[in-house]
């Protein structure tokens, strides 16, 4: 009897898990457009379809939302800057000034070289990632449900938070990596750039050891930059989804997790910006 009771509880637990797992899995899927194995192009209907597409696919949802947010940021800042007055500033002008000054101070303290490019880059990176991360605070079901209603297809995947897509974060960090390469070659020359790998920290005679130590450390920069942002946001999103499975108890738990997440969201945007500045500073230094 006891055995049977135990069996039924495990069965119900498994059944509940299966639906809960499906819920979470469904919310981790993307709206993928790509080339099917049989050659025609279209939107993937299942995650298996999306996986089978391989390289020739693009996540329409994360691309779309990130582009919309980027355009929103540029439009808003440009609009406020055009209307800026030297008199008593309005609320939005104050906000923009605070953001710009905050980024400017960070660049001043961390970037020792001279460049007109780093501060605008840092501002763009910070505000864009902040906006993308803030999508995480919208309740997890609202945007997917709205997308399903608009498309009239209840199995549609739609991901609201672009930074929980590893493609977006790796794209961002690859951009930074290319800039690091550009500034390294520009400021140090080819010899100086490769000399940093070969002749530091132990001198010429231990060149293999130097290479083994320095090359992975250099290549780890973009990977860790991308995966830090992705990992934080992905873990946070999954925990929101798991809390969403709890029925009415979720209202109790969503609040503290959202408050904790309010710390993570600007912190990750700030870290990405700071590390971009620090890496570019390293690239610009002479030895």
């Amino acid at each position: 009897m006891a055995e049977r009771a135990a069996e039924t509880t495990t069965e119900t637990a498994q059944a509940a898990y299966a639906t809960g797992g499906e819920y979470v899995q469904h919310h981790l899927g993307f709206l993928t457009y790509g080339k099917y194995p049989d050659g025609h192009w279209g939107i993937a209907h299942t995650t298996e379809d999306a996986a089978a597409m391989g390289f020739w696919s693009i996540n329409l949802d994360t691309m779309g939302i990130s582009l919309v947010l980027g355009v929103l940021f540029v439009w808003f800042f440009a609009k406020v800057c055009r209307g800026a007055t030297s008199g008593v500033p309005s609320g939005v002008q104050n906000f923009v000034e605070i953001m710009v000054e905050f980024v400017q101070n960070s660049v001043k303290t961390s970037f020792t070289g001279k460049s007109d490019f780093v501060a605008p880059l840092a501002l763009t990176v910070f505000c864009w990632i902040l906006l993308m991360n803030l999508m995480d605070l919208i309740p997890v079901d609202i945007i997917p449900l709205a997308a399903q209603l608009i498309a009239g297809n209840e199995h549609l995947y739609f991901k609201a938070v672009p930074t929980t897509d590893v493609n977006i974060t790796i794209g961002l960090s690859m951009g930074v990596f290319l800039l690091i390469l550009y500034y390294s070659f520009k400021n140090k020359g080819v010899g100086g750039f490769f000399g940093e790998f070969a002749f530091q920290p132990f001198g010429v005679w231990l060149m293999p050891v130097n290479l083994i130590m320095e090359v992975p450390a250099f290549l780890a920069k973009p990977v860790s930059l991308a995966l830090r942002l992705f990992g934080n946001l992905f873990a946070g999103e999954v925990i929101f989804l798991v809390i969403g499975l709890l029925g009415y108890w979720q209202f109790l738990l969503h609040f503290p997790w959202a408050v904790f997440h309010l710390l993570i969201i600007p912190l990750q945007a700030y870290l990405f910006m700071m590390l971009t500045i620090v890496y570019l500073n390293q690239a610009c230094q002479h030895h």
Binding site: G21, R228, G231, F234, V238, Y270
Partner: protein, 81 residues
Amino acid sequence: MEIIFANTLLAAALIFGICGAGTAIAFGLLGGKLIESSARQPELAPRLQVQFFLVAGFVDVISIIGVGMAMYFIFVQPFSV
């Protein structure tokens, strides 16, 4: 199928536990040092806080990647064929 799932959960639990332990030690040291140095030189506190958050990002990167991977293993189940 079940054995794969059970082992995945065990692995995820190990990842969570070890990541948590490592990050806890690191943040304990880091926060302690921050408070200590702020107490010694209070005028440096704002600059130290910036450095603190920077190092905090370095400290938690591996563990948060681990946690993300563990979540992925649990919910997406890439090993169950």
